[in-house]
Assembly symmetry: C2
Homo-oligomer: 343 residues x 2
DNA sequence: TCTGGGGTCCAAAGCGCTTTGGATCTATGG
DNA sequence: CCATAGATCCAAAGCGCTTTGGACCCCAGA
């Protein structure tokens, strides 16, 4: 079933049918009703490719996911982000097209996406410090929105991000207020921009109390359960061990908790743990009423929604002036933190 | 830059340029070389929409992800599966288009995907027992491949699946051989097909030793850390507690371990834990040399690759005779299992 | 010398839609 | 009664590509 045959069945021209279905005013309400009724009855949907070719708009948003050969990890946050963005796309009639590329081909992938014209814009994930993708995107003239920001780039761009500095600053103050002096930071990979910001928040809070960060209490790496466990165990074995841990993800926190318990200590009494929580669908921090960990919480799914909405709006309006959306994390208090033990 | 202007610059017709780039024989090797050189220099890539319209092939595969309002969980396995499939798509020149829909709209989504013609086939995730999607897909005439199978459907279809029955049967035998008699099963959601099969494997092994399954030792639910923890804790509090746990995912196993340790027991000595491991990128079961949990292991990412390859092959060949690919899980032995304690 | 078959290339017709530039008809006001 | 504006519809061009059906040239074989 295509436009032409539908038009023939109705005794109308394709022009009129097209206009009726697309809401143009040059068609009487009577015939519009006839047309929509017939279209529904025939389960007619305009062919996507033809529509795209004719209008020049792809009605699709691209996400490029680089797969690196070195550490082949699929970001656990990714699925939830995608789900959030996808909801918005679906409502707005956009498709989401994912491209998986070996990371050495990432630049080429953006270029091809552009010249093949199969997306109207792209969403950029997991920016690193001094990320080169922005300059590339800008030279391509393809609309984009970042999930995160890029320290060290002066040109402006559109982004949605959590206030990582503030979140970790508050979290650190929270622990300091409980009397902790030796606070460890188990962070994400060092050149990820969000990790850099979280560290800055941590250091700001320490500095506010005239405390110097101890390099032995700062670890970086992929945010897995094993990383949390191994780093925490090593730190607990130090001559002067930490009394509190600040971790970058729930998985790391779970690993840290395991290390604490293995050491015969009790979480919340002997050692406190405070983590960031992305509110992943499959990794809940207990319930709202009773969180397991004290945490700075911010929904990555909501971030996906906001990114998508911003990008679509930008594409639809044709306005490419950079926008931004800074989300604040909330601090939820669970049983994993308590006063620093007497020394 | 489009075909026409490229052809003009070369002093050739669009026909010839198109044929040169697409490898048709009716063009001399000399001009083919000229054309490809010019195309590369100009970073020319044929417009996707135009190509699709002309050829009638969308060069895209659809994945429909239903989001249910009830339990809004994004399957943690999903990201890795997608990554595997995406690798294959990228190599074959296919796009991957994801559609997120509220699950009451899922049927409509498939129909629209078909009539709008923006995919050549679909991949079906997470089939449930008596899943209705297959009959729908078959009536639509859209090529598809299932990740998993559907008990209770007699018509044949294409699928890629792990031998869940065998895996859990072996796992149960492994525990039985260690002397365990009270083995608990912490399974996935009951009407998911894979969960049904795993349970069958578990029950087959028990039956082979003339043991009746104890309903108190069988739990179902979403495979989260909290679920594993809560179920295991409840079971350990039974008058006649289990000495071993069989869990359906690494997250559940981590939860079970926590419950075991909270009870003052030692994993691998007092209580054994054996889990299925999907080899997720962000949730490793220790290292290959030293796994944390004894586990039945099967890469979901590899399953994604195989699904994608099968579907693409099916589309390209035009053959819709059902195929299947049964993957066997391997049993890796870690420190989480040991002989049943003396009673 | 003539014929026919490769080897190369091209003109033009789609693919299914949107959109421009009318055409036709009816009501309205002077 | 006529000119005009508005309402309603349509023919045809065009989006950028593929593909069919030749056209043309050159050379081998009769």
């Amino acid at each position: 079933m295509n436009l032409k045959t539908l038009a023939q069945e109705l005794g109308l021209s394709p022009t009129t049918v097209s206009r009726a279905l697309n809401g143009y005013p040059e068609v009487s309400e009577a015939t519009r009703a006839r047309v929509t009724a017939a279209a529904n009855a025939a389960h007619y949907h305009p062919n996507t490719q033809a529509k795209r070719l004719a209008t020049g708009r792809a009605m699709a948003i691209g996400h490029i996911i680089p797969i690196s050969g070195r550490h082949e990890i699929v970001n656990p946050v990714f699925a939830d982000f995608i789900a959030g963005a996808g909801e918005v796309y679906a409502r707005a009639g956009y498709d989401m097209v994912l491209t998986i590329v070996p990371d050495e081909d990432e630049a080429r992938a953006y270029g091809e996406l552009r010249s093949k014209g199969n997306v109207d814009g792209v969403l950029i994930h997991a920016p690193r410090v001094n990320d080169h993708r922005i300059t590339m995107l800008q030279s391509l003239g393809l609309p984009y929105v970042l999930h995160g920001r890029i320290s060290g780039i002066e040109s402006s761009y559109s982004w949605v991000d959590v206030n990582n500095v503030r979140a970790f600053e508050r979290a650190t103050h929270f622990l300091l207020d409980l009397g902790h002096q030796r606070i460890a930071l188990i962070n994400g990979i060092g050149d990820m921009d969000f990790a850099r910001r979280r560290r800055r928040g941590y250091e700001l809070a320490l500095a506010a109390r005239a405390l110097a960060p101890d390099p032995l209490l700062i670890a970086e790496g992929e945010m897995t359960e094993a990383q949390g466990h191994d780093q925490a165990r090593a730190m607990l074995a130090l001559p002067n061990p930490p009394t509190a841990f600040l971790t970058a993800s729930l998985l790391s926190a779970m690993g840290a908790r395991r290390a604490v318990e293995e050491a015969g200590l009790v979480m919340g009494r002997d050692v406190s743990i405070l983590t960031h929580d992305d509110e992943l669908g499959y990794l809940k921090n207990g319930t709202d009423q009773q969180p397991i960990f004290t945490a700075t919480r911010s929904s990555v799914r909501e971030a996906g929604r906001r990114c998508a909405a911003m990008l679509i709006d930008q594409i639809a309006s044709g306005e490419h002036t950079p926008r931004s959306d800074l989300m604040e994390a909330v601090l939820v208090v669970g049983d994993s933190t308590g006063p620093a033990p007497e020394r």
